[in-house]
Symmetry: C2
Subunit: 208 residues, 2 copies
């Protein structure tokens, strides 16, 4: 969502400085939103699918190893506990308990040896839709003012005001959720949006 | 990098269909690359910093809990092993061994109870620079043909050819690294790029 706010805003601001034609700014902005939402939504979906396939293939390998080389796999379980400074006498019963159930044994290896969390295949589609939807919604915030305002520079001013306010609100809310200072979170997203737009504006004006 | 290839390519293709002026396509493309590389690089850096701060604050909380309520924290360690079906007699020495060293105890809680991997603070800067650099490099692939070619439609054709080839190569290489079929990986990134560009082209043409 922050990218959806920032990139179309910066692009529109950059083009305003360079071409000063509202309909071009709106066309470029909508084209960017269409491309960005598809690239990020579909890209996110396929990345999540790839993670899932990767997890499944690693899991199949671990299952095969517990069948073919159970001794080595038990040693790997023991190594995890050796890393916690446990004595060999106390490790042995732990390893036997875990290895008594193949499902549990493989789960232990996946999580503690390889550090994998089991991905949820249903989440892929949901997260793709959320990413694409947020990108479109976010992108319409900076672009709508250009469609409504009478002049392109009025559009730019309203766009800057609502986008920076939206970026601040987004960063503030995200800061609250992740436990960092909401004020700091809000200022961070505003600074990113401001720098990206200033660069786009300056570059577009310089070459035009 | 795939986003860096896809979005500027789709934007340039979309504008070609709508405005047919090479210098506008190049200006919009460069503005998009500037905005996208800053938004994603800086956004990635701050996200990595936030992860690090979040990890540190959770770790501080765990350290405090092992000091203030050690009994409860030992129970939480025992719960992890109960989840693996171990008997109470074999759990007790394991818990004592882990809790004997506070550093190890807290590490265990972070990783096995909360599922956190320790983030590397140096990686934040490195990954930000990589993201921004890849976005710029990726973005120049679809844009350079417009700068060099004699006509805008020639530029579009060369841009489409080199970008789809680069997307395929990128997806192919990524497929090899993550263990999915390279051919499938290559086709996936090409399909994303193609769909995003078709949508941008169609939308831009339709509204102009």
């Amino acid at each position: 969502m922050a990218d959806g706010l920032t990139v179309p805003f910066a692009l529109a601001a950059g083009l305003t400085g360079a071409v000063a034609k509202t309909h071009l700014v709106v066309i470029a902005g909508l084209a960017e939103i269409a491309a960005g939402s598809i690239a990020m939504g579909l890209g996110g979906y396929l990345a999540a699918r790839t993670d899932f396939d990767h997890y499944e293939s690693e899991k199949a390998r671990e299952i095969r190893e517990t069948e073919e080389v159970p001794g080595l796999e038990k040693e790997e379980v023991a190594d995890v506990f050796r890393g916690y400074g446990m004595t060999e006498e106390s490790i042995a019963p732990v390893v036997e308990a875990i290895a008594a159930d193949r499902q549990r044994w493989v789960d232990f290896m996946m999580r503690f040896e390889l550090g994998f969390e089991e991905p949820d295949p249903k989440r892929a589609l949901h997260s793709a839709a959320t990413i694409a939807g947020s990108y479109i919604l976010g992108g319409m915030v900076p672009l709508a003012p250009y469609m409504i305002a009478s002049g392109i520079y009025t559009g730019l001013k309203i766009s800057a005001a609502v986008t920076l306010a939206a970026l601040f609100a987004f960063g503030y809310g995200k800061g609250r959720l992740t436990g960092i200072s909401p004020l700091r979170g809000g200022l961070q997203t505003v600074v990113i949006g401001g720098l990206a737009s200033a660069a786009a504006f300056g570059l577009a004006r310089w070459i035009s």
